[in-house]
Point group: C2
Chain length 372, copies 2
Amino acid sequence: MASPLPVSPPAVHVALSEGRSYAVHFEPLATAPMHLREAGLSGPLALVVTDETVGPLHLGALADALRADGWTVEATAVPAGEGSKSLDQLSALHDWALGLGIDRQTPLLALGGGVVGDLAGFAAATLLRGIPLVHLPTTTISQVDSAIGGKTGINHATGKNLVGAFHQPRLVLADPATLDTLDERAFRSGLAEAVKHALISDPALADRLDREWDTLVARQPDVLAPLLRDAAAVKARVIEADEREAGERAFLNFGHTFGHALEKEAGYGTLTHGEAVALGMRAALHLSESLRLGQVAEALGPFAEADRLVARLDPPAPTLAIDALMAATEADKKRTAAGVRYVVLDAVGRPRLAADVDDALLRAAWRYALSA
Amino acid sequence: MASPLPVSPPAVHVALSEGRSYAVHFEPLATAPMHLREAGLSGPLALVVTDETVGPLHLGALADALRADGWTVEATAVPAGEGSKSLDQLSALHDWALGLGIDRQTPLLALGGGVVGDLAGFAAATLLRGIPLVHLPTTTISQVDSAIGGKTGINHATGKNLVGAFHQPRLVLADPATLDTLDERAFRSGLAEAVKHALISDPALADRLDREWDTLVARQPDVLAPLLRDAAAVKARVIEADEREAGERAFLNFGHTFGHALEKEAGYGTLTHGEAVALGMRAALHLSESLRLGQVAEALGPFAEADRLVARLDPPAPTLAIDALMAATEADKKRTAAGVRYVVLDAVGRPRLAADVDDALLRAAWRYALSA
């Protein structure tokens, strides 16, 4: 276990209109009462939704800190894993919360990774037409990505995240010490979104990730926290510019159109989301080079360094049919009437959308990613 | 049947931030294709959700007009009535819409009264984290009130409208001719919200409603449409000032804290919402006078004229126990930690919130409303 951070990095501020701005703190969970007050949230009742893995690890300390500050804490744990992003679990959370006599000021705290954040966030979005939401992300991927930006939702028989809402949190408190309890695969693959943020928007951060990779994956707190914080800041800047994914926010899907197809074809749960995104970024980098050349690229060219950074995420190489992957991307939710759009780079930090991409270039990108 | 309106009243504009402004038109349903284009909505696919009463009356003409303009129309009808505001119906709409291959630009048109608007609106709010919503309200109450402002939702075992979201429409098209098919009770009691809008914000509109009442309830189009339009405009101004019900929007609850208790105690479906609100406004006017005097009022004083206007709505006088009604208001969703707040008037057009209201004044208000 790492010792507590001597100094926390400065908070990331997400500036939105109409009083909906919020802060993302990289500090210990024990600071929750202070930050709830700063965010204007008051009790006495606070709801905590967690899962059966995270609850035993972190709920006790959180609840103790809240109770010591005068909060009445009611907590519930859903089963860990993607299966909890269901209408049944959502309905169970509605029943639970409404049975506790909440009002529109009652905050709901989501303690866990992406599944808990998405599910509990959607419950907060839909209880009394929206109650205050606080994200307490406990995974790499949720700390730098999913806890920021207001996407909430559940899965549907026809695809992931197809039912949901935008509901911005009032506060995000990411405790880097909670990452100590992640297994190696979850920790490392979760860094995929941090790498993605660097590649689409911050070449200096990409250099730092590359340079400090070994201490980062050793989870050394004084290296880990500032890097996570800066990766989260990229997400915050994109959200500020395009809250509802009408434009720039689409760049956050770098690697994701490929990645979603990989997750689906490998069978959900076979690859982690981070692993699929890592492989997807390798395909997207190859496609970027092909589009730069105007023909199928033989090598990564100016994107070779970025690709080496992605390779540090160490994704597995699944054996999948390219025909099936090509078909799966056609079903991606981000498609418009204009067809599937791929996020590619003109250079590190300079993303753009490519539509009407030639199948030959896509197939070459898939071949590269699956054999790299 | 009334003949088509010679001239439609000017549209009401709802000015919101971030490109979310929209227009409320009082024009024939056949103008839908033109207004969809003006609102920037494009197809080819359009979803229409209606109910089994309204569908047979108005869906054919709407679908014909849309198809003639190049739209592909997919329609579904839910059972008429409050029972359709359920998680099961919501889930069925999700399945239906996602099975049709919608994307984030596909508009969902809600053709019907408050139930269809609330249910279909919530489906639109939660499909792909929000698809464009168009309200085509066909009842008095939805044309002047519920189609405007973005409240959507379903009922829960613990109360009405406890699960939902704010999702503003992109367009509201209210065809006054559709009101011709309402029965007398639904038409007249639905005017309660128009009377409410006048009383909280527009004394001149209150005078016009009083003066033109007979031609209004005869559904004479040249009188009906401009009055509905001006009542809708009051709602629009309140929404602009306070979209999320943090302040001024609470004034729209004039008569509703009493009204919700009446609906619940009479048994949902016994009173129409408009009838309950009408009785609730009579109680609220009595309370307003008691608070003005600082003691239980013997008569309505300066609110007598307003009360005569409310009485024109002709609500029934249910036999209910005041103790039960007092208890039911305690459970109202709008309560805060500070207790139940009642909207009262200092004068017609000058509402305010009253908290910590003495039980004796409340009981007198109930007695007045139930015996008036």
